[in-house]
Amino acid sequence: MNMAKIISNRPFYLGLIVLVLILLFTLPVYGSNYGIILLTNIILYIILTLSWAIFSGPTGYISLASAAFLGVGMYTMAILGNEFPLVVAVLAGGLISSCLALLTGALTLRLRGMYFIMFTFGLTQLAKYVVLWWEHHINAITGRYVIIIEPPIVYYYILVIFVSTLLAAYYIRRSRLGLALQTIGENEEAAAHMGVNVTLVKVITFGISAFFMGAAGAIMATRWIYIDPSIAFNILYSFLPVLMAIFGGMGQLYGPILGAAIFAYLEELLITRFPYYYMLFFGVVLVVAVLYLPNGFVGLIEKWRRRSGERQES
């Protein structure tokens, strides 16, 4: 038995995933508070990236609306958090984001390529300025305080959202919906001719992916404590999922997860050591990744695996 054979084994993967999940779910028992908060942030990035990749990965439609969905989730929590049970507020965050996505999807059916990118960018900005205006003029406030929740509880919520996102991503990939999405990415006209209801498939998937972002935003708002429109609808949260997914590579399901995990951990590491240089460093990493890792980490790993596989046969 050699390494290459073991790690290309299906039960091995399943075992590994179960092990990781058990470790993650028992973390609050033995982990430090800092560890829990750090992991919460990392998992948030993974959820954002993974749910972004559910829609944008196979279809190639680059959405910059992530921050809008995240922000809608946050505001839902800020408004409902005091009056409703936590689980209701989180689900509501997801559902309202989902509705916004369905509406956006239905409106932007004709837009492709750059126009779709621009529209989703506009959506995030518009959401920010409308909420800003509304809060100023109607409610005469700038921001809102959100209920405070214990870190382990936030952690469990974010973990459950993560597992659901993972399951959704996995099953969509293997379902007819996933195949339809893949076809749309390859050639949308051909997909339509083959009998794929292109519109419906796109809109539904967009809605599903927004649900997880909204739910994650709702629970994360309790960690932020105070939110205002420029925090909740920060356009950076639209950019980051794109960057992390490309960084990790979208050919495989684990690509976005790997990309987000590495990115989030690097951020934490750099922000504490070089608070002034870390974004600069990000920029450099990004340019280098675009130039030398066109298929992300996944591309690199697949290449390495293929090479070790070839060595095996010869």
Partner: protein, 289 residues
């Protein structure tokens, strides 16, 4: 009443002129070089801060800085295209793949320039405070800067338009925009032309930045706001149309100043509503066929 209208119109032309400059450079970069440059605003910020530094530390007149900063940023843009984007173009399988990866690369450039600027100039909001003395014009008084900025913006825009439509290099650029391969076959040095286009985009951004520093306050994180404006104007005027960007800029500036007259906080909302409605109804812009 007349004075109010005049004020609104002058304000509209002031912001409109700057919007036009920004959008023309941005439109050229996307229309010809196929780079959707998210870092466009960062070049504007660089131009503004270079002007500010030259004035504060060396006492150089901001209007002279126009001709100093512009060519320097042209050089930087040219080099970035030569090193980064031409390589990306070589390794990209298709135009679509190149558009996506060049978009990502400009995210990287955005982070690099913005944070380098934060390190150099600090997070402070700066203002130049030149030419702000009042002058009488048509029976009312204006800050002098509010009159010369649009004047310069119009002169630069017209010069840029003439350059694209009348010169040999401009013809090469238009040819490259229409059909890159055929233009190459006709003897256009396509890689140089694309690099020149990217450089010209940076040049226009720098000029806009210098003018902005004369009239408005500036900060290292101002870039993205102007990139968003470029997005809107370019869609308004039609993607890839230079004259569309020019007209669209002034149109948006006027709309902005009229809305601001009633409620300043609604201006940005109006911009984005127009932007999204246009994308839905007529993505080719007001001048598009």
């Amino acid at each position: 009443m007349m004075v109010t209208i005049l004020n609104v119109v002058i304000d509209g032309i002031l912001t409109g002129g700057i919007y036009s400059l920004i959008a023309m450079g941005f439109g050229l970069q996307y229309g010809v070089a196929r780079v959707l440059n998210i870092s466009h605003g960062e070049f504007i910020m660089l131009g503004a801060f270079a002007t500010w530094s030259l004035y504060t530390f060396f006492g150089i007149n901001p209007l002279i800085s126009l001709v100093i900063c512009g060519p320097v940023l042209f050089g930087i843009g040219f080099l970035i295209h030569r090193t980064l984007f031409s390589r990306l173009q070589r390794i990209s399988a298709s135009t679509g793949a190149y558009e996506a990866s060049s978009l990502l690369a400009t995210f990287g450039i955005l982070f690099i320039i913005q944070n380098a600027a934060l390190l150099i100039w600090g997070p402070f909001v700066r203002g130049l405070g030149v030419y702000s003395y009042p002058v009488s014009f048509a029976g009312t008084t204006f800050g002098f800067n509010r009159l010369i900025t649009p004047l310069f913006a119009i002169v630069i825009s017209v010069a840029f338009y003439l350059f694209i439509s009348r010169t040999r290099l401009g013809k090469a650029i238009r040819a490259a925009a229409q059909d890159r391969v055929t233009a190459g076959l006709m003897g256009v040095k396509i890689n140089s032309v694309l690099a020149v286009c990217f450089g010209l985009g940076a040049l226009m951004a720098s000029l806009a930045g210098s003018l902005i520093s004369i009239t408005y306050t500036i900060s290292p994180i101002m870039g993205l706001e102007y990139t968003a404006i470029a997005f809107i104007v370019v869609v308004l005027g039609g993607l890839g149309s230079i004259s569309g960007s020019f007209i669209g800029g002034f149109l948006l500036g006027l709309i902005g100043s009229i809305v601001s007259y009633f409620d300043a906080s609604l201006a940005l909302i109006t911009y984005y509503v127009i932007f999204m409605l246009l994308l839905m109804v007529k993505p080719t812009g007001i001048l598009g066929k």
